[in-house]
Symmetry: C2
Subunit: 177 residues, 2 copies
């Protein structure tokens, strides 16, 4: 991805589907298609975006000739696996407030490393998409935003979010259960 914002979704056989991640500028997507020659999930742009297509065969051939490229490619795939471990941890053992806190911290961290403010952000996705990613219903996401706002940790105006107390978010995430 060159610019923009995407979500990726896996679809279950029964029609329901779930958001597996959100991607922003500089990140790669499509690793799910290598194993079977057919992608297991859809990528959907949540705003106007630019991407750069890299044919996998080309990448494989090039990485065969150029070791640093191969190494880098492997690292990126490995990090994707580790990222998913983090999501599993979130889905398997956190409650709503913690999930949202972890999600927001992750977003701000990534935005910050791209030169954006780490306290002010505009969400590109709906409450429902967040909920799908976090394993929550959209109403729960909405209520949790409200709660964090009441606690003075966030300031939420629709999709405009300001982080007032990052340390508190971090504490929430770390508070075992």
């Amino acid at each position: 991805m060159r610019t923009g914002f995407f979500k990726t979704c896996v679809g279950a056989e029964d029609g329901s589907d779930q958001v597996t991640g959100f991607q922003m500028a500089g990140e790669l997507l499509g690793f799910d298609g290598i194993g079977t020659e057919r992608h297991a999930c859809d990528a959907v742009a949540l705003e106007d975006s630019q991407v750069c297509v890299i044919p996998f065969d080309t990448l494989e051939t090039l990485s065969q000739e150029f070791q640093p490229l191969q190494r880098q490619f492997h690292k990126i795939m490995s990090r994707e696996i580790v990222r998913e471990h983090g999501v599993m941890l979130l889905l398997g053992s956190m409650r709503a407030e913690q999930r949202l806190a972890a999600f927001l911290l992750n977003l701000t961290k990534r935005l910050h490393s791209r030169g954006f403010s780490s306290t002010e952000l505009v969400l590109r996705m709906t409450r429902e998409e967040m909920g799908s990613y976090l394993g929550l219903k959209l109403e729960t996401v909405s209520r949790t935003f409200g709660k964090l706002q009441e606690e003075g940790i966030l300031e939420v105006k629709q999709r405009q979010v300001r982080v007032l107390d990052e340390a508190a978010l971090q504490r929430l995430v770390n508070s075992g259960c």
Copy 2:
């Protein structure tokens, strides 16, 4: 892995940890260490097991010379990513009965492809480990086993499990929500 049975766990900063997968003979583990030169999770043998260590540098060098190996390696990593998508789907949108059904079907499928019975299996992990993997407490796992037994779908005696109605399990998994 040559023989045996493993679990892999990620540990959160706060001490709690979660099982991210169970591995059996013929499967590979350790992809989480490539990105950072340090493994993000522990692998623990749940019974006497034999493994074959493959130094990653060697693998990378060999796969540079031998394309089919490279391709295979990429496929395996990609499938690991897709597998984790499946777990995320399970953790994010299924309820206890469905999670256990999906888990058992996955186990029997893998055992069957190794020449074991697809209806009779011996669990290598505790209720707690299953619960950790499935995002449930051990009591819930136990109760769910009981429920599936009452419904005539399973026959459970401690860790001995017999699948009486595989189709019903499949139906459970597919029943949206």
